[in-house]
Structure formats: structure tokens, C-alpha cells
């Protein structure tokens, strides 16, 4: 199993979720994060006190998938999340050594 982690623009989240569902990924965990990168943040101004916000709101999607699904999942994410503008985000793949479903105790690919 692999853990596919994608950091995307928040307003693409629904599209990405739908794209993943279509390729058969039926579970995911999403975190609201703040991203720092090439994409420029904005300036805020409060009574003349300037404040440069470098961190931008992003959504982090984590999906545990079986080996053979990794490619499709990545494909689906990239297609749905891409706007072509800087700040579209990243996908990282890491290894999961074991997975368990708490309710049933099933493990491995069955737990997903």
C-alpha cells in the first residue's frame, strides 16, 4: 500500500474528490493547511500597518491505496487539481507498512 498525499488549492477539492471516486478511491482524509512556496501571498493592511501573508490556504488530501491504484489516483488528482497557475500544489507518495480498519480489525488492502 501507498499513501498518496496531495496538496491542492482548496476550491479544487470537490473536483478532486469526484475524480478519485471515479477511479475507485472511495476513502480519503482531508486537512486544511497553510502552504508556502512559489505562489505569492497577499498583503493585508490594518490602519496602515502592513502585513504580508506568505502562507496560503491549501487542502491536503491523504489517500491510502493499493499498489496497483497509485498511478490512476495520481492521474486523477493531477487532472482535477490543475489550473495551470502557480500554486497548484504537489503530490507525494510514501510507503504504508500496515493498514487496519478499526471497526472490523481487517488489515492490509482490505482495510481501505
Amino acid at each position: 500500500m501507498k499513501l498518496v498525499t496531495a496538496i491542492i488549492k482548496p476550491f479544487r477539492l470537490d473536483d478532486v474528490r469526484n475524480a478519485l471516486s471515479e477511479v475507485g478511491v472511495s476513502g480519503m482524509t482531508v486537512t486544511e493547511v497553510k502552504g508556502f512556496g512559489r505562489q505569492r501571498g497577499h498583503t493585508e493592511l490594518y490602519r496602515g500597518a502592513e502585513y504580508v501573508v506568505d502562507f496560503l490556504p491549501k487542502s491536503k488530501i491523504e489517500i491510502a491505496v493499493a499498489y496497483d491504484m497509485v498511478e490512476q489516483a495520481i492521474e486523477a488528482i493531477i487532472n482535477a487539481a490543475r489550473t495551470g497557475k502557480v500554486g497548484d500544489g504537489k503530490v507525494f507518495v510514501t510507503a504504508i507498512e500496515q493498514a487496519l480498519r478499526i471497526r472490523t480489525g481487517e488489515f492490509g488492502d482490505n482495510a481501505l
Binding site: E44, L45, R47, G48, Y51
Partner: protein
């Protein structure tokens, strides 16, 4: 029509018992009292609390509430008496109403029950120190704050009130301050400025950004302040009469013009108007029209409001960016400068642009001199006393929380509570 300078008349104690309360005037003054309390609780409390960081939101709310409670008690014990009864001289009032002694349910002051007059003035005594909270926000110890405010009330607010409204030397000189340019706004502004200097900057100011944690909260408070200010200024007519009506109209126009002016300044200077800007302009307009609201006409009010927006805008830039004084919520540049500006403009707009006239035989120039004397005296007295009080308290119990506590936030450290569990 009743005279505009009712407050001065009310100081003559012999008049106080002769009259009967008029139900219409009483109705309005009861309402105005409620409106002015509403300005502090929850109005100002929310306005200020939205501007600090989330970890200090409760500390600001707590300060406003505690000030309201403590000042109320001090006011009936001695504040009212020393402010509004005839004293032995021009500097401080007398003892005839200590603990409100001698005031019965039948006592009347002007055309309202004296109990209502006591209450109405109490709400002014509450909001003035509450405004100072903006100067020392996010770093002062709660106990030190309580001690400071209590002493400040008796040693600064009460005497200045007597000078201006209680029949003291400034009143006798013909100083014009309808609803509190000196008594409320200069006092609050100077108090806050001195507090900001004596306590020192917040950790990280001005390099670390400290954006408001909840601007909708601030805007909510701003709306309440606007509405409540009708009680403040139109209530200062002390009757439901034409003077009150005109005071409400010019007050409103001062606020509106202040909004437009500050918004325009931001648009010109930064390219975008902001909601914090527009509400700050509103407060500047209201603070500036306050002393003038019984003297000027609608056109004068527009001039005052526009000037307020522009002058206080630059004053804020100056204090924050140039002088780098951490008057955290900008009390001095908005209230203090606004109060001074309004008091000065009284001299020029009382008898022009539809103003209601200067006193018989007083010229603009003479009134200007009188106004400058009143302004200077208030700044000097308030500045010196505030400084001495703060230094003394710092020596005895300490003014500030320590660095770690400031980092953790006053809500947890001082009150063992957190604002939000969303």
C-alpha cells in the same frame, strides 16, 4: 426652547429641587443612559476585542466589564459628588452627595429625576477609562489595571469633569465642550498614550504582524457605537428638545463624513478602502463632533467629520509608523486628536455654516483662546497624573505580565479561560 448650555445651569444646586421632572425629558434621558451604557457594553468591548489577537480577546472584554462595575460603585460613593456638586473652589466639587446622601427619589435635576442624571453621567465615567484599554491592550496585568483605573477615575476624570461640566474654572471661563471632547476623548487619548509609553511595546511590535483576530466583531461594536453615540451627544442636551434633535443630526453627519474621509484617504494612499478604515473614520468623526455637537449646524458637522477623517488618519500613521509608539488600538490618534480637533473647531464653526452662535460678546478669537486653554489644561493634568500613577503602580505591584505570559496570551494566564472552542 430650552437653552443649550443646560449643564452649566444644572450646576446651581438651588435649581435642582425646585423643578418637577418632565416625563418626555425623563423618557429620553432614561433611553440615552441605556444607549451610552450600550456603547461600552457590549459596543466598545467588542470593537476593541475584535482588534486584538485571539489569545487576548477575553482579557479585553474582562477589562471593559470590570471597569464598568468598579467605576459605577466609585461613582456613587464619591465620583458624582466631587464632579457635580458645588465645591469649595474651582478645582473640585463638594461632598454633599457622597454616597448620594441627600438624594431622594423626589430629587430633580433640570427636568429629570436626579437619579437619572447620576446614571447618565455615570455612563460617561465608565466609557472614558474603558477607552484607555486600547492603549495597554494585550500586556497589562489585570490587578494593576483595576488599581490604575480606579485611581485615574478619581484623580483625572473627576476633577476635569468638575472643571468643564461641574461649574469649575473652565466652565466659568466659557470653555465649550458639549459632550466630552476634553472630559472624555482627550482624557482617554492621553491616558492611553502615556500608558502605552510607560508599559512599553508589545513583544514583537512593530515587526511581527498583529492583525485583528475578528473584524466582524469590531464592525459589530462599531455599529453599536454609532447608535449609542446618539445617546451620548443628543443625551447631553439633557432633554428631549430641539437641541437634542440637532445634536443627533450633527452627530450622525460627523460620523458619516468621518467614514467617507477615512475611506477616501485609504483609497488614495493605499489603493483600497478597508472596513477597519471606514469604522475608524466613523469613530474619529464621532469623537471629533462630540464636543461640538451642541454648537454647530449640519454643514459645520460635515466639515468636522471630513477634517476628522483626514487628520486622525495622518495622526495614526504618525504615532504608529513614525513614532513607533504601541498605542495598540490607536486611542490617542483617533480619540485624543479628534477631541482636540473638535474643541478647536468649535471656535470657528459655532457662528458660521449654520452654527448656533457663540456667547454674547465673545469673538471667534477669544473662544479659540479659551478652547486652547481648556485643551492644554486637560492634556497637562491628565498627562502628568497618568504618568505618576502608572509609575507608582509599576513600582508597587508591577504593570506588565512577563514575556512568557504575554506569548501564551492573557486569557489563559490571567483568567484561565479560552475565547473560542469551535
Amino acid at each position: 426652547m430650552r437653552p443649550v448650555f443646560v449643564l452649566a445651569l444644572l450646576c446651581l444646586p438651588q435649581l435642582a429641587v425646585a423643578d418637577e421632572a418632565v416625563s418626555g425629558d425623563t423618557a429620553w434621558m432614561l433611553t440615552a443612559t441605556a444607549l451610552v451604557l450600550f456603547m461600552t457594553l457590549p459596543g466598545l468591548a467588542l470593537f476593541y476585542a475584535g482588534l486584538v489577537r485571539a489569545k487576548n480577546v477575553l482579557s479585553v472584554l474582562m477589562q471593559c466589564f470590570a471597569i464598568a462595575a468598579v467605576v459605577s460603585i466609585l461613582w456613587v460613593i464619591a465620583g458624582y459628588s466631587l464632579s457635580f456638586t458645588e465645591g469649595s473652589g474651582p478645582f473640585i466639587g463638594g461632598f454633599s452627595r457622597i454616597m448620594l446622601s441627600g438624594m431622594t427619589i423626589d430629587s430633580v435635576r433640570g427636568s429629570m429625576p436626579e437619579s437619572v442624571f447620576v446614571m447618565f453621567q455615570m455612563t460617561f465615567a465608565i466609557i472614558t477609562p474603558a477607552l484607555i484599554v486600547g492603549g495597554f491592550a494585550e500586556r497589562m496585568r489585570f490587578s494593576a489595571m483595576l488599581v490604575f483605573i480606579s485611581l485615574w477615575l478619581m484623580l483625572v476624570y473627576v476633577p476635569v469633569t468638575y472643571w468643564v461640566w461641574g461649574g469649575g474654572w473652565l466652565a466659568q471661563m466659557g470653555f465649550r465642550d458639549f459632550a466630552g471632547g476634553a472630559v472624555v476623548h482627550i482624557n482617554a487619548g492621553i491616558g492611553a498614550l502615556i500608558a502605552a509609553i510607560v508599559l512599553g511595546k508589545r513583544r514583537g511590535f512593530p515587526t511581527t504582524p498583529m492583525p485583528p483576530h475578528n473584524l466582524p466583531m469590531t464592525v459589530t461594536g462599531a455599529g453599536m457605537l454609532w447608535v449609542g453615540w446618539f445617546g451620548f451627544n443628543a443625551g447631553s442636551a439633557l432633554a428631549a428638545d430641539n437641541a437634542a434633535g440637532m445634536a443627533m443630526l450633527v452627530t450622525h453627519l460627523g460620523a458619516a463624513a468621518g467614514c467617507v474621509a477615512w475611506m477616501s484617504m485609504e483609497w488614495l494612499r493605499f489603493g483600497k478602502p478597508s472596513v477597519l478604515g471606514i469604522v475608524t473614520g466613523m469613530v474619529a468623526g464621532l469623537g471629533t463632533i462630540t464636543p461640538a455637537s451642541g454648537y454647530v449646524g449640519p454643514a459645520g458637522a460635515l466639515v468636522i467629520g471630513l477634517s476628522a477623517g483626514i487628520v486622525c488618519f495622518w495622526a495614526t500613521m504618525l504615532v504608529k509608523r513614525t513614532l513607533k509608539i504601541d498605542d495598540s488600538l490607536d486611542v490617542m490618534p483617533v480619540h485624543g486628536v479628534g477631541g482636540i480637533l473638535g474643541l478647536i473647531m468649535i471656535a470657528f464653526l459655532s457662528s458660521t455654516l449654520g452654527g448656533l452662535g457663540l456667547d454674547e460678546g465673545v469673538t471667534m478669537g477669544q473662544q479659540f483662546v479659551i478652547q486652547m486653554i481648556g485643551i492644554s489644561a486637560t492634556i497637562a493634568w491628565c498627562g502628568v497624573m497618568s504618568y505618576l500613577l502608572l509609575k507608582l503602580i509599576d513600582l508597587v505591584i508591577g504593570l506588565r505580565v512577563d514575556e512568557d505570559q504575554e506569548t501564551e496570551g492573557l486569557d489563559i494566564v490571567l483568567h484561565e479561560e479560552r475565547g473560542y472552542n469551535l
